[in-house]
Subunit: 202 residues, 2 copies
């Protein structure tokens, strides 16, 4: 892969090395095509190459195939994973719930919901989608386990159900604008406090 080494690109143009510009143009092309309504199935290396203004070989030198490229492109939508401070379980959960469904790229709003039915029809694509969300899920699972260990959370906590209780409300609100009366900015604290304390009168 000599062209991942910028010194191999001649003549050098100013700004970023050509190989990095090509990477970004390819990722951008994938996201643009998906945001314009292309299904994963219809997305071809050829269409991506044309859109990015590169040759197909340039794509295959960087990614082994469409799925690996898609994984990188979809991860780009979501930005870096939030890292909890590790002091208070409640505060860590507020941070993590605040990051649920948060995308750094506005194209995500068009891409993500429509991906759902397609992902559910293909085991390979479902795995791809799980690969994107599992690193985030793992961090929340660790915070909940810590809470059980320190005695802040119930000893009999079902961790997977607890993650659904914390994540679901934020995800439907962010992704689907499910409930017009809820304020997205205040919701992470309200969800975490509501789920921690419970609705039942004591």
């Amino acid at each position: 892969m000599s062209d991942t080494n910028p010194t191999a690109d001649a003549p050098r143009s100013p700004g970023r090395p050509r190989s990095i510009r090509a990477d970004e143009a390819i990722i951008e092309a994938v996201l643009d095509l998906l945001a314009e309504g292309s299904t994963i199935e219809a997305l071809s290396i050829e269409a991506i190459a044309t859109r990015a203004g590169v040759g197909k070989a340039t794509i295959y030198r960087r990614w082994p195939g469409k799925d690996a490229l898609l994984l990188d492109a979809l991860r780009r939508l979501k930005g870096v994973v939030a890292q909890p401070a590790g002091h208070s379980v409640r505060d860590d959960l507020v941070l993590l719930v605040g990051a649920v469904g948060h995308n750094i790229d506005p194209r995500a709003e068009r891409i993500m919901p429509c991906l759902v039915p397609e992902v559910n029809r293909s085991p390979d694509h479902f795995q791809l989608y799980q690969n994107i969300i599992e690193p985030r899920r793992k961090i929340m699972r660790e915070v909940l386990r810590r809470g059980v260990a320190t005695g802040e959370l119930r000893a009999d906590l079902d961790i997977e159900v607890a993650m659904a209780l914390l994540t679901g409300p934020m995800l439907v609100q962010r992704l689907m604008r499910w409930h017009p009366e809820l304020d997205d900015r205040l919701l992470p604290e309200r969800v975490v406090d509501g789920v921690l304390d419970g609705l039942r009168a004591r």
Copy 2:
């Protein structure tokens, strides 16, 4: 609207009156076109008429316009609204949470997620979507208010947040198959008990 009266249809064919068959063919045409990937915007009365094998006038005799027809078609996906028994707040919530994201028509799985970004771009369509879900939301709100009144639920309950806590986990699981390790059939009880009791150690 003489053709809504079956006696006006001559000759009578066996089975359902022709006017009811036309209604159903029109609704079916809308759902088929949406399930095949048509956006609400691209959906035209002309395309619906062609697909249903009726004239455009037949559609306009029954519905004042596309939005009213869409509302009927999307309601059809969801079936009748669950009616809680009114004895135990917990049992009523299990019933209502079990109905969240439940569609009687398999086309819903393709139609509903992709509708989300489109609905969010158009205030009219957002209102249409709210008109579909508001009757269901109203029933849950009433159960929660009853729980506050009877003292089963906290007196300071934020009803709208509580609805998000109960509905969100089930909706992401049903609509997005968000979490492969959760069993959809057991989830309504687990969600309700988890949210009522809270995660915090006592």
